[in-house]
């Protein structure tokens, strides 16, 4: 398997990542608080600690490219260009949400920016991404699809079926496996036999690249190379990004199955801090970075405030968009 080349990003690009990662972090911290306060009702899965992958990959996608995500998708969605206000409103279940409050965190989608949906079923997004790529190919469009999933998803059948499918039809898909070491409350090492996600991809004929998923520059460089290959007709590619989930599986998971020391050690490796260090070495000031972080927090505080004020969806919306033929009617069950 290829190791990703050493990254050497220009500082502007790195700064953009720094901003994006801070925005993702701030979004999720705000969402976490809103769930703890009871304002957000449904389960939410935070990607705190994993922001570099979303930012690094999506920086190499065009607006017209597509992504499919999983249950832990806020970062992917923001990095692809969605409005945090609309996302936050979705978490709050409001009419102004990306899905008018009908989906919640696990079903955020934003087709305008090519986000084909988070998913509540582990692994399901893989097939949707692969199928979208096949649709694009049929339509002779040169867009590509990136597909995010976790290390737990590699044990579900759709991983095999989807990767095999992408390869036999040589579809334009970039598979991105976010290996955070956990499937919910269980360490994936004990659940996954063999050489890992990349070995499985390679056994299916898909080249795999391993990258330090907490090094945003490295993710960006690796994703750039792979996205280029995909776009150039090189067929599906696989990026394995090692990272760590700093929060529990959901906001309500206290994650007592791992030690505080382990988390503290990993905290030192988290991607925003590492990016800041590089930027400081490159001559950026503490103040500038602090300002970026503060701006991100303010943006998300505004998103929360707006969500709080936003209207609930009308009951009529519950009956809408089920189906055209046989559309349900309030008068009759």
């Amino acid at each position: 398997m290829a190791e990703a080349p050493r990254a050497n990003l220009d500082a502007e690009r790195l700064l953009a990542h720094y901003r994006m990662m801070n925005r993702i972090r701030a979004f999720e911290e705000a969402a976490e608080a809103a769930q703890k306060s009871g304002e957000v009702k449904g389960a939410i899965h935070l990607s705190i600690g994993q922001e570099a992958i979303a930012s690094g990959v999506c920086a190499n996608l065009r607006r017209s490219d597509l992504i499919a995500s999983n249950h832990r998708g806020h970062g992917h969605t923001l990095a692809k260009g969605a409005s945090p206000a609309a996302m936050m409103a979705e978490l709050f279940g409001r009419a102004t949400g990306t899905c008018h409050g009908k989906g919640g965190s696990m079903h955020i989608a934003d087709f305008d920016i090519g986000m084909l949906g988070a998913n509540g079923v582990v692994g399901a997004g893989i097939l949707i991404a692969v199928g979208a790529a096949q649709g694009l190919k049929l339509r002779r469009e040169d867009r590509i699809v990136a597909c995010f999933f976790g290390d737990g998803a590699i044990n579900r059948g759709p991983f095999l079926e989807g990767l095999n499918w992408a390869k036999i039809y040589e579809l334009p898909v970039l598979f991105v496996c976010e290996d955070n070491g956990f499937a919910a409350m269980t360490r994936t090492a004990s659940l996954s036999a063999g050489g890992g996600p990349d070995a499985r991809a390679q056994s299916l004929g898909i080249p795999a690249t391993l990258v330090d998923g907490n090094d945003v520059a490295a993710v960006d460089e690796a994703a750039r190379e792979l996205a280029q290959r995909v776009r150039g007709g090189g067929g599906p590619q696989f990026l394995l990004a090692r990272t760590y989930r700093l929060r529990g599986h959901t906001v309500t998971d206290a994650a007592g199955y791992r030690s505080a020391e382990e988390v503290a050690a990993k905290q030192r490796d988290e991607p925003i801090g590492r990016c800041a260090e590089t930027l400081l070495v490159a001559g950026r000031s503490e103040a500038e970075l602090a300002l970026i972080a503060a701006e991100a927090r303010r943006e998300m505080a505004d998103a929360v405030a707006a969500a709080r004020e936003a209207p609930w969806p009308s009951r009529a919306l519950a009956w809408a968009d089920v189906q055209d033929v046989g559309s349900p009617q309030e008068a009759r069950r």
């Binding site: 949906g117 649709g135 989807g162 968009d321 033929v325």
Partner: protein, 322 residues
Amino acid sequence: MSTLSYLEAARLALAQEMRRDPLVWALGEDLGRGGIFGQYKGLIEEFGPERILDTPISEAAIMGTAVGAALVGTRPVVEMRFADFALCAVDELVNQAAKARYMFGGQGRVPLVVRQPSGMWRSSAAQHSQSLEAWYAHIPGLVVVAPATPADNFGLLKAAIRCEDPVVYMEHKDLWGLTGEVDERADPLPLGVARRVREGSDVTIVTWSGMLRRVEAAAELLDGGPSAEVIDLRTLYPWDRDLVFASVRRTGRLLVVHEAVQTGGFGAEVAASVAEALFDLLRAPVRRLGAPRIPVPYAPPLEEVCKIGGAEIAEAVRAMVG
């Protein structure tokens, strides 16, 4: 008009829709060699391997990738080979295809057709004989179609392909060879509209798919006795309540006949709906005839136990009309 088999009618409908719309395509196992029953014969020659896609044995991927392909605006026709194998792809159909548009607040649509050859045919035993239409009728977001004649398989498949919603399209395997007149230039049939196959005054028999022939045979058997009105539902969801209710208003009696297991079958929905809505007009209790709640056995004399014949239906009618 020409005489076509049920199978040929569907093949023609698919070919016409593929000519009409370059975004219509089909995917499934062995399609390039015509499919297991020959429903796709000759299509790869006309449309090429990209639009008549040979797939691996990956039912979950066949269904799941079709969802993605539909979300980006193509119109996949998914071939499941046997309805029983669609059970390998239920998450993809029920959690994804049926719900995507709704969950995403209307942003995407999933205009796919899932062809599920159903029912008992040539001693196929428990894993190749099921009729599970009731399952799909229960799932919000899905349209469920079950054609009983060549003309319907032509007109309804065209309609299903043009439908913006995911359609579960259940062809009956034992009807493949049934021939009938088909207007090759006919428009798609409307979905959700049943067909009154025969007029009658004493009882309304509602049925669909492979059982239509048996019900027609029963109506013949009754000749001189009670007069049966026969309705082929054609679309199970949405089902044509108006036509059924209007008929039961006249006859005062309802018998639903289906091949599927009776317990929890779709006949329960029809019977319960009529019992709820037309209680005061009913001259006899509603009645259902479906298969016993046993897996379909292999040996012909055992399989017979799952089958409902014309005589049994006629007998049920006589008991109802009394």
